[in-house]
Symmetry: C2
Subunit: 100 residues, 2 copies
DNA sequence: TCGGTAATTAGCAAAATACCGAATCATACG
DNA sequence: CGTATGATTCGGTATTTTGCTAATTACCGA
C-alpha cells in the first residue's frame, strides 16, 4: 500500500491519472501532454504500474495504459478507513475516551 | 494541496497521524512511540503542520499536537473528487467499451 | 533483411528527503 | 541569576527521487 501513497505524491503522476480517467491512452499519447522526456514519463508509468494504479496493454509496438479505477478507489477507501473517516460512528468500536 | 500528498507519502508521518487520531499528544510523547531521534520527528511535525494536517498548541515548554480531522477529510474528499470517485456512474462521459 | 517507429532500459547528474548529534531557544523552578 | 527540561534549529551525510541523453529492444511494413 505504501507504493500507492508514493505514487500519488508526485504531481506529474497525478496528472497522468487524471488524463487516464477520461480515456485509455498510449504511452506516446500521454507523453504528448507533458514537456518531460519520454524516458522520464516511462519511469512514471512504471511507478504507477507497480502501485497497481494502471494497467499496461501492449498491442503492437504501442502500449496502452488504462486506469485501474477500482484499485485507486480501494486505496483511498483504505486510507480513509485507516484514519477513521468515511464512517459515521458505525458503533462497531468504542472510539477512545475523548474526555473533552 | 500538494503538501498534503507529500505529507502522507511517508510511513512515519502516517503513523503520527494514526497516533493523533486516538488523542492529542505532546511532541515528546509522540517521539516516545518511535526509535527516531527527536530532531527527526520534529521535522516530520513541521511537514504535517505545513500541510495543515495537525495543529500545534504551545502551553508551557511543551507543544501539544492535535489532528485536524476536518482538513484530512477535506483532503481525501478533494482527492476523490479530482479522480471522479465517490460519485456512481459519472454520466459525464461515455466510458468506452467496458464490455463484461 | 533493412529502415522506421514506439517504448523501455542503462547510465549519470542534480535536487529533494530523511536522518542524526550538537547547539540553540524558551520556559519553569530553585 | 543558574540550571533543568521540552522542543526546535543548525550543519552535515547518506539515500532516494527526478530528470536527461544515449543506447537498446520489439515490432511493423516495404
Amino acid at each position: 500500500m505504501d507504493r500507492v501513497y508514493k505514487a500519488l505524491a508526485d504531481p506529474t503522476r497525478r496528472d497522468i491519472l487524471r488524463l487516464l480517467r477520461q480515456r485509455a491512452m498510449t504511452a506516446g499519447e500521454l507523453a504528448g501532454h507533458f514537456t518531460l522526456s519520454k524516458p522520464t514519463l516511462s519511469g512514471h508509468f512504471a511507478v504507477l504500474r507497480e502501485a497497481g494504479l494502471v494497467h499496461a496493454e501492449k498491442v503492437g509496438t504501442t502500449i496502452t495504459y488504462r486506469l485501474h479505477l477500482s484499485v485507486l478507489e480501494d486505496a483511498l477507501r483504505c486510507l480513509m478507513d485507516g484514519f477513521g473517516l468515511g464512517e459515521r460512528s458505525t458503533a462497531t468500536h468504542k472510539p477512545e475516551g475523548e474526555t473533552s
